[in-house]
């Protein structure tokens, strides 16, 4: 049981460590910058001058509080956009990369079902997903202690907990592209580009007549600013995201079980 999950999961440890360290540095940088920025610039006036689409895209609210600042700079940008695209991209390589490089035949010659191959490979992506969301809040908390700021621990935990279903959807989009396209580069471009498209859909339609289109976008259901600034947890949205992730993975599996491996 879980032979593939263990194998591929352990192969992600190094990359996960590097990425987590990178985000820790980013957190430290933001937190270190915050006191001087919030003193020197009227961030609220600055935000008010920006178009609504941009405000929506990066959850710009209460930027002169540490909660609003982190929500906008770290979470709206780092988590919703960067990590969203990253997980879509990474999951897009799960199947297509092995097919593309001629390794899939060898895997499927083992006494394993295609379902197991797909599900356990998908599970390996949980390694960076979980580690990032466990380590980063600790880093944030400790960094804030360093500048004599504080933040609600519950809100901090929730902003990461609710990020998990969101990032799973991103990975779900990726794995679907991974089974549909045989060339890894195509699958990764489609998944990353598509996920970025969803993100734009939500932000550019904000405040327009077609704002309802944004309902298709996963980012509509994960709002770090609401969590950190207003302590509002969109549990229903999280449930919806989780359901969408499950549907994407099961659809990918069904497709992979039937397809001719190129």
């Amino acid at each position: 049981m879980f032979e593939f999950a263990r194998y591929y999961g352990s192969r992600r440890l190094k990359g996960t460590a590097v990425m987590t360290a990178g985000f820790a540095v980013l957190v430290a940088l933001y937190v270190w910058m915050f006191p001087s920025i919030s003193d020197g610039i009227d961030l609220d006036a600055y935000v008010a001058s920006l178009p609504p689409a941009l405000q929506q895209a990066f959850g710009l609210q209460a930027l002169n509080t540490i909660e609003g600042f982190l929500a906008a700079e770290l979470y709206a940008f780092g988590w919703v956009l960067l990590l969203g695209i990253y997980f879509a991209y990474a999951a897009a390589g799960l199947i297509a990369d092995d097919v593309d490089r001629g390794r899939m035949d060898m895997l499927l010659s083992l006494p394993v079902s295609r379902s197991k191959v797909l599900l356990e490979k998908f599970a390996s992506i949980l390694v960076p997903l979980v580690v990032l969301n466990v380590v980063t809040p600790v880093v944030v908390y400790l960094a804030l202690l360093g500048i004599d700021e504080s933040i609600s621990v519950t809100d901090l935990a929730m902003v990461h907990a609710l990020a998990v279903p969101y990032l799973l959807v991103a990975a779900g989009v990726g794995v679907l592209a991974s089974v549909v396209f045989d060339r890894a580069s195509v699958a990764q471009r489609v998944a990353a580009g598509g996920f970025f498209g969803f993100f734009l859909l939500d932000s550019v339609t904000a405040g327009t007549d077609v704002a309802w289109l944004g309902a298709l976008s996963p980012s509509r259901y994960y709002d770090p600013t609401a969590v950190l600034v207003a302590s509002e947890y969109d549990l229903q949205g999280a449930g919806l995201l989780l359901a969408a992730a499950v549907v994407l993975v099961l659809a990918s599996r069904a497709y992979f079980e039937r397809k001719d491996v190129a």
Binding site: E3, G102, L108, S109, V112, V261
Partner: protein, 364 residues
């Protein structure tokens, strides 16, 4: 029950019909060579019976498991060793890590023994492997769980001759232990050493399934004979001679008793200069040895080579359109494809009678 049974297997890729009504059976305990040039459809058949793709029509079973029934096939794969063409592995992993993964899923009772035999640098990252080393790692994983059936796509590709010999020896040994092999190759002389039967595929169709012994017998012998005589192509009346060429030569037999003119004339193309006519005949021979010996008895024979006909030559016959399906008429059909060019025109116009007793060639 057959180890592999393929019935009417067709795989259509839309633009290409890679397998067209392929039917063959591989019996338990035999080594079956699946032969054909690159692009003939060998890999398509192999990937279909392994369940990587579904047939457009037709059926196949492997160790009794229908290839379209994933559950049955997954169980069967515990007893199958598989080597793809150009095996690829995680480049960042070491050979050991890959073998560990495979071992966790199918076992590795024979890993140590195989690593000894095939010598893979298991502690190095695979990105640093040569083609041959990847191939050897592929062989180790294919055999290490001691499977009953081995399905191997071009197993000796990329191996140096020494390792090829090790592999062939190992296959013979495993066959003796009751293993079944389904090996593809485009090099006949290679599989001929290990296979019991061969199936030949061409443009997606099976054109021949026969025992190697059978094919070798039909292939006949390759004969090269040099006689001290002037031989006309039309005079060679021996039955069972195919692809005959006759060439007048100056073979440098200056030291032979009848070459009295001395060695300094040996650079002349025409044998006239020495007063001796020499001819070299080469042909593929499917008749009896007695008849051949009787025929040659009429000549002064200077050199004689009789070898097994290269299977490539036989192979080419199978690829000749007119003959592909007409197996029984093989001998006759081949005779009809003799080269028509007259290679005997090189001989001298007025050959001098040789000072030997070889003047009555062709009368045997």
């Amino acid at each position: 029950m057959s180890a592999i049974s393929i019935a009417g297997l067709t795989k259509d890729y839309g633009d290409v019909r890679a397998n067209d009504d392929v039917t063959l059976d591989v019996e338990p305990g035999e080594v079956f060579g699946y032969l054909g040039p690159n692009g003939a459809g060998k890999t398509t058949t192999i990937r279909t019976i392994m369940g990587f793709q579904s047939p457009t029509s037709g059926t196949a079973t492997v160790l009794g498991a229908p290839v379209t029934d994933e559950r049955a096939l997954v169980d069967a794969r515990e007893r199958i060793g598989y080597l793809p063409a150009n095996p690829a592995f995680d480049e960042e992993a070491t050979g050991r890590e890959v073998l560990d993964l495979h071992a966790s899923l199918k076992g590795d009772a024979r890993r140590a023994e195989l690593l000894e035999l095939f010598d893979v640098p298991v502690d190095r990252e695979i990105r640093g492997y040569s083609t041959g080393q990847k191939q050897k790692l592929g062989l180790v994983q294919a055999f290490m769980h001691d499977p009953d059936l081995l399905v191997m796509d071009e197993p000796t590709a990329g191996l140096d001759p020494l390792v090829q010999r090790t592999f062939n020896e190992f296959v013979r040994q495993e066959k003796a232990a009751g293993k079944t092999f389904f090996l593809s190759s485009h090099v006949l002389s290679e599989v001929r050493r290990v296979c019991d039967r061969i199936g030949i595929i061409r443009d997606g169709r099976i054109v021949e399934v026969a025992s190697v012994a059978d094919v070798l017998q039909r292939a006949g012998k390759y004969v090269r004979v040099r006689v001290a005589a002037d031989v006309d192509r039309e005079d060679v009346s021996l039955d069972g001679v195919h692809e005959l060429t006759v060439e007048s030569v100056d073979g440098g037999y200056a030291d032979l008793p009848m070459a009295t003119a001395g060695g300094d004339a040996s650079d002349e193309r025409n044998a006239d200069a020495t007063g001796t006519a020499l001819a070299e005949l080469t042909f593929t021979y499917t008749g009896s040895f007695d008849a051949l010996v009787d025929y040659l008895d009429g000549f002064h024979v200077l050199e004689l080579d009789v070898e097994e006909a290269p299977l490539e030559r036989v192979f080419m016959r199978f690829y000749d359109d007119d003959e592909t399906l007409d197996v029984d008429a093989e001998t006759d059909a081949t005779a009809g494809t003799e080269p028509t060019r007259d290679e005997s025109t090189e001989r001298g116009d007025d050959p001098m009678p040789a000072g030997t007793d070889a003047g009555h060639g062709g009368d045997a």
